[in-house]
Symmetry: C2
Subunit: 461 residues, 2 copies
């Protein structure tokens, strides 16, 4: 991204000094949490742990290098589900150059001021499935896509109000009024840039995986500080929360087959051919069997947030489009997330039914005004992959943050130690604060981002 | 609905003693807020008031009859936009009969207990457009659809937990566990019944309008109390709020082309033929013209909640799928709401482009647990059509409620007086609390529903 850009990768035992190519297709890795229950029993699938009795969590005790800016710390643990870590992380300084419009150059864009114009910070977590290929590509690519998208609109971002025309010329006198009435602000351009960057990165991953004969997908959770605001963009089931002394605030929502049920069912309603006659769009409490035929059973369709009863017909006995609940919920019996990057080639096992039409690469973006927030010294954002949140609630993480930071004010590595401690808490130790001593057998990655002084990015241009 | 069922209709001058048929198509009423600006200027349309200089608000001073139950009061005002009031209201006691499953009757349903089994209350407001036909049909029909839908699932509603099979028989021992894991509660069946009732009523209206050669549509806002809970179902731009001494809580969201932009754009993306090459799916701050060609202008597409810039092409000069903002926002230049009942025949003026594919009849349902709420004597729900909310904010209405009720504790008609006073406040009187003395030129209908004692419905069976 720039001279200041760097990223780190972790494998069991320590960080990789240099990027390694993703695994070739010749030795495919099973898709994350594969659970296509065609023809099997009607009970929900077992948890990851029990379906991987050989899973042995290996904590990576690597301490991060001192970061050149106030980045906090990423701690990543590999549950050895695959040879290479399916969790990937990236962070760095975000340097936006300014392009100015050359009026006399026949509406060409000229780089008049190529040096850094606007700076911010970037953190990203990618939780891969079907191997680490997509996650590695995303960690290598997404920040570049974002920088390009931001540079394309930076003139609008630094204006008091984004102009109707990027050239800044007012074609009609009432144009500023139209922009005002729509309530369009500079932050909407950053949100738009994040949305476009995710989509562009998804296209790059699709091309790269196809060209190299690889497969896989990943979730993506990105935090960006820019012009005094924090942007959190999420596509998948990772999560970011804000922890302050008196407040715990979710900064993202998870996108899973359950949370996006209505969108997914609606698509299957509009395009039934996507199910190839092998799945039923309807949701039932469990998979139906022959002895349910003719009975009135609980069901939900795409337009319903409530439940009703329907008389079971033969077609209702097909495998459900979305099946299971909680961590066991699967889209087309295959995938546990409904948004993310990659998966262009992913098909339901032994069929030609594609998953990609049901997946969105576009993130949901939350904006936090740090100038308004006036962050205190121990206000942090905790970003983590689902491995953490499966065993720790937001409130438990907040309690750990609040109990750890005040006692370690003099430690220059305290945010790193906190990230490490959070991961330690997922490993089922005696002193673990997890409910009923739950243990995470998934890869776990955590960023702890101190917010104090982050709001000063506004003055960087 | 039952012997206790009644409904009232209002016309200027007083309530109609008997239902009157909707207007025949021979004298069509212009669609509400028609504003198809094909080829006209690019500025947003003017407000209703200014486009109807002849609009003369006529307040209907009719006081409601004493209601046989604690129903509050509906006050309705007709702005004389059409001969018959486009606002229609209905309220009554909701009497659900119980059907029991006849095990030995070859899975037939028998009415073993035809008398009332479960009772609740029902209030509904319908804001018509294109004439009152759809609103009148909805006021005559929706409660019957709802009763039927509720009666079909009442066995599940009164169980501790809705059974997987409506018969109550457990086909598999683990069935209750599946229902428990999905978190399905009795209230989900009422939500499902409301959703299905709205859809069924929409189908009835479609058939009835076609058979009688009439046209039109309406919004629908329904409140139901049942088993200690208040359900608010909304499809359109009416609104319900809860007002308590220390709290104002919205109980519904408005569904307009603006609030449902992404859903509507997404449909046009999937089915571009719905726009017949005459509209552009993209949103711009204003309608683009020839001199915008080649410029980079602000835009949003279906996947974006933020904004970006795009280079204007010829196809971007088409009329926008959604145009204008706030009260002026229109779907296909025609309609100000995106959910409701009816409009089956509605087309864009002088074209064959249909509106109905973009409209949803399904409501969003909010559930309020009145047992938990422990309503005080002056806690009320205010339901009103957009004529009220266009000129009074939630907070202004709450202030009026709180200033009015305590001083009128002895008045048995105080909730009626309050509804009347709220409508009075929209008519631009000197003592009006509206911002900048705004006046509503739209029909206005208000229900004030006292919540005290409504939570006792649970004991009615």
């Amino acid at each position: 991204m720039s001279a200041n850009w760097f990223r780190r990768r972790f494998l069991p035992g320590g960080p990789l000094p240099a990027p390694r190519p993703p695994r070739p297709r010749a030795s495919p890795v099973p898709y994350r949490r594969p659970r296509f229950l065609r023809g099997s029993g009607s009970s929900p699938g077992t948890a990851d742990a029990s379906c991987r009795p050989d899973a042995r969590p290996v904590r990576s005790p690597v301490r991060g290098r001192a970061l050149p800016w106030n980045a906090g710390y990423a701690e990543i643990i590999n549950a050895e589900k695959s040879e290479f870590n399916e969790d990937q992380a990236a962070c760095g300084k975000l340097c936006i150059r300014r392009f100015e419009f050359g009026v006399e150059e026949d509406q060409e864009w000229l780089t008049l001021c190529p040096e850094e114009f606007l700076t911010g910070h970037y953190w990203a977590l990618f939780d891969g499935h079907g191997g680490p290929a997509a996650a590695i590509l995303a960690a290598n690519t997404l920040h570049s896509c974002l920088r390009q998208q931001l540079e394309a609109v930076v003139e609008g971002m630094v204006a008091t109000q984004p102009p109707m025309h990027l050239s800044g010329h007012c074609i009609r006198p009432s144009d500023p009024q139209f922009v005002e009435e729509k309530g369009i602000r500079a932050e909407d351009l950053v949100v738009g840039a994040l949305e476009s960057a995710f989509q562009e990165c998804d296209e790059v991953i699709g091309r790269e995986l196809e060209a190299s004969g690889q497969v896989g997908g990943c979730t993506a959770l990105v935090a960006v500080t820019l012009q005094g605001k924090l942007y959190v963009a999420n596509a998948g089931d990772s999560r970011a929360i804000l922890v302050r002394r008196d407040e715990v605030r979710p900064l993202s929502s998870e996108f899973t087959p359950e949370t996006e049920r209505q969108r997914i069912q609606q698509l299957a309603f509009l395009y039934p051919e996507l199910l190839a006659g092998e799945f039923t769009r309807l949701e039932f409490p469990r998979r139906l069997k022959g002895d349910d035929l003719g009975q009135k059973v609980l069901f939900r369709d795409h337009h319903m947030s409530g439940w009703s009863y329907k008389c079971v017909e033969q077609s209702d006995l097909k495998y459900p489009l979305i099946h299971g609940q909680g961590r066991q919920a699967r889209l087309l019996g295959t995938l546990a997330v409904s948004r993310g990057l990659g998966d262009h080639q992913l098909k339901v096992l032994d069929t030609n039914i594609q998953l990609k039409p049901f997946l969105l690469s576009v993130p949901q973006v939350t904006v936090l005004d740090m100038d308004q927030l006036e962050p205190q010294e121990e206000d942090v954002v905790v970003m983590a992959t689902d491995g953490l949140w499966d065993v720790l609630s937001n409130e438990q993480v907040a309690r750990l943050v609040r109990s750890f930071l005040p006692g370690n004010r003099e430690d220059p590595h305290r945010f790193s130690e906190l990230a490490q401690m959070l991961i330690h808490s997922t490993q089922g130790k005696d002193d673990s604060p997890t409910q009923e001593g739950q243990v995470s057998y998934d890869d776990v990655s955590v960023f702890v981002i101190p917010l104090h002084n982050q709001g000063q990015g506004r003055s960087s241009h």
